[in-house]
Symmetry: C2
Amino acid sequence: MSTAHGARARARIEVTAAIKDEARRQLAAQGAARLSLRAVARELGMVSSALYRYFPSRDDLLTALIIDAYDSLGENAEAAHEATASPFERWITVCEAVRGWALDHPHEYALIYGSPVPGYTAPDATVPAAARVGLLLIGIARDAHQGAALDRPAPADDLRPEAERMAADLAPDLPPEVVTALVAAWAQLYGLVGFELFGQFNRVVEDRETFFRHAVGQLARGVGLVPGPR
Amino acid sequence: MSTAHGARARARIEVTAAIKDEARRQLAAQGAARLSLRAVARELGMVSSALYRYFPSRDDLLTALIIDAYDSLGENAEAAHEATASPFERWITVCEAVRGWALDHPHEYALIYGSPVPGYTAPDATVPAAARVGLLLIGIARDAHQGAALDRPAPADDLRPEAERMAADLAPDLPPEVVTALVAAWAQLYGLVGFELFGQFNRVVEDRETFFRHAVGQLARGVGLVPGPR
DNA sequence: ACAAAAACGAGAGCAGTGCTCTTGCCCGGG
DNA sequence: CCCGGGCAAGAGCACTGCTCTCGTTTTTGT
């Protein structure tokens, strides 16, 4: 049991945390592909085989780090979210929080949103953590909608069935065309952050903050959010 | 000299091509991180050290594959480009060609647009190949502009200096606000493709083709392209 | 045409990796 | 008290990228 009381149990969660901390250090320093179980064990003064008592494989360690990264990003975005006022401004703030976290934790961002590492496929355990930012954006749109401050985008006939299906799954209280616009904006936000982070904007975009703010403003308009009070 | 006439020189380019072919096979099958120099050499019936006469390191092999991938993607997009008529339709077609190529070559797409592999940083040699798709999109906007079929997006005051700088670098004949919208759309296209490819749309978007077509249509409108003749 | 030079393939070897298996120790619950 | 299970340690396997040396073959310069 992980909730046992013994000193052994406490030692176990301490060692587990120490392993994750050291692994996160190496991840931040060199990236996921250079994260080495043996190096983690070496740094912690233990032998590599001992580490397998805590994480059955390298992929399991990476999975733990992925979930932590999603949570860290989500917390960061949620914290930024509470501060400001109008939905439009909150949208911008959340997007900028995502970008800021990505620039501060490039390797962790690459781990969760970049191309999947070696033969690794993320297990279902990561799904709830991964959804946090998306739910935040949906919540902003919902607030604007309830405050009647949403300029609903024009519906498209051919997208209609899919839009209704997505809305039923994600946000039944929002107009379907807003839901599809939200999902698209979410992916496009990831594109903007990824291009900057992975160097595709080198020698192209110079004033990245201004460019980003403007681009995510357009994203907000695409889902129907307009600058203004309330 | 690499342009010498001898049988030796011809053999060299043949062996080089064979290495790249086998490497591309392994890349497509297992991804970049599992591409092994020794396995390539083994499959080709040569000893691993001999391979270093052709590529001084694993990263150099990867660089060659990256350039080839950019060119393959670029050719694919350019081929699709010539077929259709109006700029708006050409925009859609090029975007769908990019998506189609990505779905057909997921590991190659991840190699060029995903998170950079291990400690790898792309050398300058890849820049021209990487720019092909971007130039294509710029060309479409240029055609529409010259045909007076561009609804210029509203300029933004705070982005003005950066927009003018970017326009001077990339497309001096286009209005600055169109250039920034183009760059943003380019990054957002990458976001849409990446999210689908890397599984972020699982259990969210079902009818991917329709969703994608609609989203890139919105992207086109964002740069001022409107559906219509000519 | 002949010798010097460059290119090449093969093999051994180094340092590193993930992971498994066996051997003992030592702590905690019966 | 004692003995079973969790634990660390070590050896070992099958890999990896990369280097160096050693003959052999081909190209090149005189």
